[in-house]
């Protein structure tokens, strides 16, 4: 899998970052101003403008290697949006992208820590550990941070699943944001994120978020698409690098993801 590299900090981008989404709507407008609209979801385009400063020799080499490997704008690579949640349907754990073990019960409409009712109650009535996970098509070897809000009426623990790493974290009646971050020694082209419940455990969970960085940022809700773009390309065939000093580089990149290509 060809993918956009992370910086040595574990981040994919630096501030400022700009992102643009474009849709295509065919509009037939009558003389009186009435409109008939037709959506064209396949024509959706997402673009990023990334600015990098103070890159090291290694970071620049990784960017150059990617640019050469994909031959500029010719071939696609996997891009993990630095300003988005990588998981789809972050507030609807009953969607098909979430793989819940049989007998794990999910109840929607539970009060969440943001003042809404978008949390889920997850219960494990069995005598075995059960999981609720989502797999994304991204290299498992990168730095990732899984974060979520959880609470339980009784003091218990929940297991945070980040690929092959599972971490037990204690929770109580108050909403707590839990995180699990790090890099795995794993060369797989996919990685799963989620939670595992001990036998008999019941807890409320909200805002499950995975990011390709070392710490959690503010929770970002997603719907049918998460922040994984397997069909991203460089916008142009040119990569301009400015050397500011020895081992200090800067460059600007435009990346585009077009669904219909």
């Amino acid at each position: 899998m060809i993918y956009f590299p992370q910086l040595s900090s574990g981040a994919t981008g630096q501030f400022p970052i700009a992102r643009q989404r474009s849709a295509r709507t065919v509009v037939n407008e009558s003389w009186q101003g009435y409109q008939v609209k037709l959506a064209d979801p396949a024509a959706a385009v997402t673009e990023w403008h990334l600015s990098f400063d103070e890159l090291t020799d290694q970071e620049l080499a990784a960017l150059e290697a990617l640019f050469q490997a994909v031959e500029g704008s010719l071939t696609p690579f996997t891009f993990l949006d630095p300003v988005d949640n990588l998981l789809a349907w972050s507030q609807q754990q009953n969607q098909a992208v979430w793989q819940a073990d049989p007998l794990l019960t999910l109840t929607a409409g539970v009060a969440d820590p943001m003042g809404g009712t978008a949390a889920y109650q997850v219960s494990n009535p069995t005598a075995a550990t059960l999981t609720l996970q989502q797999s994304i098509n991204a290299p498992a070897s990168l730095d990732y941070c899984l974060s979520l809000y959880a609470r339980s009426d009784e003091s218990t623990q929940v297991w945070l699943v980040r690929g092959s790493a599972t971490t037990a974290q204690a929770i109580g009646p108050q909403w707590t944001r839990l995180t699990s971050a790090g890099q795995l020694q794993d060369t797989a082209d996919s990685i799963n994120f989620g939670i595992a419940l001990d036998p008999g455990a019941t807890l409320d969970v909200f805002g499950i978020q995975a990011e390709a960085q070392t710490t959690a940022s503010m929770y970002k809700q997603t719907a049918e698409t998460g922040g994984v773009y397997p069909n991203a390309r460089f916008q142009t065939d040119t990569l301009t690098i400015t050397t500011v000093g020895p081992g200090r580089y800067s460059c600007e990149l435009d990346i585009v993801n077009v669904e219909y290509l």
């Binding site: 400022p16 700009a18 643009q20 849709a23 295509r24 709507t25 101003g33 979801p41």
Partner: protein, 117 residues
């Protein structure tokens, strides 16, 4: 419904509202004019400039744009000036962009327009 900010507000200053009529004018050789309405009623448009947004607020606006598929979808929008609810509104453009200058320093602009019903 159009997403609100964490403060509960929809817009920030400077807020811009546009009222739109569509009048056709026929001018005669002697300089006189005859005017008539092309559209049966007034339409409203709101330009929503937002600054210093956090990532959650930007994500909510982004999801709103995706769920509406740009200017295709319609939704109810409440005019923040007078509280009037306009039940058939759309985003005016097929594009949504934002810039994140730092943590909790997002900036974007959206335009909402009332549709003819």
């Amino acid at each position: 419904m159009f997403p609100t900010l964490k403060t509960g507000a929809v817009m920030q200053y400077p807020a811009k509202k546009t009222l739109l009529f569509n009048t056709d004018t026929i001018r005669f050789l002697d300089g006189t004019e005859q005017r008539f309405r092309d559209n049966p009623s007034i339409l409203h448009q709101w330009t929503i400039q937002l600054d210093l947004l956090d990532e959650s607020e930007l994500a909510a606006l982004d999801q709103f744009f995706i769920s509406n598929q740009g200017r295709f979808g319609s939704f109810s929008f409440t005019d923040p000036w007078d509280g009037t609810a306009y039940p058939n509104c759309s985003l005016a453009k097929d594009g949504f962009s934002f810039q994140l200058k730092g943590e909790m320093r997002g900036k974007t602009t959206l335009t909402v327009c009332e549709n003819r019903t």
